[in-house]
């Protein structure tokens, strides 16, 4: 077989309609064997939908797929698996009640009369897992892991499967730099071993680092498929959005001289003596590797138990529940959007006001008009791609669900806004919009804390950044010209300051 020239997958005129939405409007391209084929596009462009069709999770409305030259129309996920297509879906698809090992083998066990046989790829799985995160072991119950760790388990599952095509839908969204780098290395190795990889990400740097070819989707339509060689990042962005965006740090304009929040010696099981201040009108960033304790800080500020002292405007805070925190003027964009953020069954319009129902109440009653106006305002402001404000949030694309969560939080109009991974899974255009909104908030005198595993987000957005390692604050830096990315990476990787 002369790998490089042959198309292992051939896609012709794929269309997909949902009630009221046409998610894919005729997508056609070919994927060459042994390459890394990237798919990019804005939120709601149809990337995940395409992946689901390719892997049999959803049927296509029209169009055909050829796999290795033969027509291929999977009715069920297992059809694709048997044909050697292994997939890592965008949303976490992992069973909390089972152990890591059981999750990895789920659905693919070798068995005799339904009694599972000892899996032969256990060692491989263990090795992959250890390579990413040594604290996760095969016997752990998945429910007790953090989001990022769960993501790693899923990646491991996709990697150990014996397959010829590996599909990955935003595998790195939940990961920090270290793990992302490792994934890149693994993909590189797999490509060398002749595997074909379909890769989706909103982080364009990754696309350029690893990709051979890129297909761009916009609003369900094909924009084009091109080789990445010789292409520049602005070219790609232009292809995606029709315009160029550049992101650079713009200091917020507030005075930033008055501390609204002081944390002193905050400790929990995970955190060790965390100290920091938050100024009025400031955007403070928390950065650290997977499991460094960022989310834990957010949780402490939002009503979890801790030892130590947190002062708000000089007064010591003690709250026992989330509601106390909200009342004290905090608001949170949680990390796990599907489990903690959205109300999937409810419409966009119903979701947005839920953190602050007063905004849609007139004379003590919910006003339909106020509700509609509010929804329209945020749909417009955040460019939420939805077929209407009555669309259930569960049916939106991942990035757009995230925007709904942000809208809900913004509507709270809190003074201190905690955002845990606010732009996870959001496309660059919208990310920029969200960043602008955050800057706006700061300029209006609100204080924002951004917890992010994405260095660019921290350096591009935050006025100051708190670097965490293993539950401790290692260093607090002021943003500005002399900032060195390498230095930051060294600190969060555990080098003594």
């Amino acid at each position: 077989m002369n790998g490089q020239d042959e198309n292992i997958i051939e896609i012709r005129g794929i269309e997909k309609s949902f009630p009221g939405v046409k998610a894919l409007k005729g997508v056609s391209f070919g994927v060459k064997r042994g390459t890394v084929h990237c798919i990019v596009g804005e939120n709601g462009a149809g990337k995940s939908t395409f992946i689901k069709i390719l892997t049999g999770a959803q049927p296509a409305t029209r169009g055909e797929i050829k796999l290795g030259g033969k027509p291929f129309s999977p009715h069920h996920v297992s059809d694709a698996i048997h044909q050697g297509i292994s997939c890592l879906y965008q949303e976490l698809n992992i069973v909390d009640e089972l152990t890591v090992e059981e999750n990895i083998s789920l659905g693919q066990e070798k068995h005799k009369f339904l009694f599972p046989q000892k899996a032969d790829n256990l060692e491989k799985a263990g090795a992959i897992l250890a390579d990413f995160d040594s604290t996760v072991s095969l016997g752990d119950r998945v429910g007790s892991l953090s989001v990022a760790q769960k993501q790693i388990v899923e990646i491991t599952r996709a990697l150990v499967a014996e397959c010829s095509v590996l599909v990955m839908d935003e595998p790195t969204a939940a990961l920090s730099l270290g793990e992302t780098t490792k994934i890149m290395q693994v993909i590189e190795r797999l490509r060398e071993a002749g595997m074909t990889i379909i890769f989706i990400s909103h982080k364009l740097s990754e696309i350029f680092e690893i990709g051979d070819t890129v297909t761009v989707l916009r609003d369900g339509e094909m924009v084009g498929t091109q080789s990445l060689e010789g292409m520049s990042q602005p070219d790609l962005v232009r292809m995606m959005l029709g315009k160029v965006v550049a992101e650079e740090y713009i200091p917020s304009t507030g005075a930033r001289d008055q501390a609204v929040l002081e944390a002193r010696g905050v400790s929990t099981r995970k955190l060790k003596d965390v100290n920091f201040d938050l100024m009025k009108g400031e955007i403070l960033g928390f950065y650290g590797l997977l499991g460094a304790g960022k989310t834990e800080v957010a949780e402490v500020l939002f009503g979890h138990e801790y030892r130590g002292e947190i002062k708000r405007d000089g007064r010591v805070l003690r709250f026992r529940t989330e509601r106390d925190a909200l009342r004290a003027g905090f608001a949170l964009v949680p990390e796990e959007r599907r489990e903690e953020g959205i109300f999937g069954l409810l419409s966009v319009m119903r979701n947005i006001p839920l953190m602050n129902l007063k905004t849609v109440m007139r004379r003590g009653l919910v006003s339909g008009k106020a509700e509609r106006d509010l929804a329209d305002k945020y749909i417009d402001l955040l460019q939420i791609a939805t077929s209407g404000r009555n669309h259930p949030v569960a049916l939106l694309s991942g990035g757009n669900q995230q925007k709904v969560v942000i809208a809900k939080c913004l509507n709270r109009d809190a003074d201190i806004i905690l955002m845990d991974e606010p732009t996870r899974g959001v496309d660059i255009g919208a990310k920029q919009e969200i960043h602008n909104i955050i800057r706006d908030l700061a300029n209006k005198g609100k204080s924002v804390i951004v917890f992010s595993s994405e260095l660019q987000e921290i350096t591009g957005l935050c006025d100051r950044m708190v670097l965490m390692y293993d539950g401790m604050v290692r260093e607090t830096l002021r943003n500005g010209d002399e900032l060195s990315t390498d230095y930051i990476l060294e600190v969060v990787a555990g080098k003594e300051a």
Binding site: E322, E340, I342, L346, P353, L354
Partner: protein, 318 residues
Amino acid sequence: MRFLHADPQKVVLIGILAALIVGLTFASPHFLSVTNFTNVLLKVAVIVIIASAANLLMVTGNFDLSVGSVLAFSGILHAYMSKHGVAIELSILITLIVAMGWGGLNALTVSVIGINPVIATVGTLFIARGFALLIARWDGGANIMLGLPRDFVDFGRDPVFGLIPLAIVVMVAAVGTFIFIEKKTALGRKAYAIGANLKSAKLSGINTVGIVSLLYVLVALFAGLSGVLQTSRVGLAAPTVGKGLEFDVIVAIILGGTSMLGGVGSTFGMLLGALVVGFTANGMVLLGIPFYFQTIAYGGILIGTLLLSRKFDAKAAA
């Protein structure tokens, strides 16, 4: 078409209801009359009154299996007090307060302590039923009827404005109230949020424990009220009434499109569900269909309704 897309289940229910009414009008000369419709409404009144509160409770993802027992208990308690010289109004008031106490017990176990609603409310079901039987026994019999004052019965039988039976008025009021709560109040919005995602609701600052507790208390209150109405109307309080009522209530609610897991549903749908069940039962008795066939037909209607609405769903999607 737009409407179909909006909620096929309700459309199917309305369709079935219309078909039932038309069919029965032809099949039985006695069907289409004010008395008969009043009968049907009276029959579903108890179910609908309780279900209007229980519907919102189920929207939060919880449910209450103790309603039948609380109804029986309240009826007996009211009769016992009236018989032993407590003024009717006072007796009703006390009964309703005690009924809310049962709701409070459910709220405590399910919502505050956080144990499984099935077990918790089955526990309450046993306890309330046991006490209902015991009260009757303490009174010296298996049920209470002798010695009830005249106005005990009058309360349940005298029509409001000399026209409409009280139970029907209460039913309309209950449905109206909950449609209002569902559409227009923060309570309604929050209930849906809790059912759609409990964790998100907590993080959004919704008092999940408080709201679920409140709904449990309301459901019990309505069950108590139904108990009072029912005993007054019949003129006899039996501790055995309302067995299986919890199922009738849940059937009406689920038939109306509310999900057992919460997050979706409507009071109006529940009303339609209850009416379909009520007219089916009425029609079968009117036509003199023997008991065995009635149960079979009842099962058939339940499954058939949902099958039909799934079919419409699929059509609307295509």
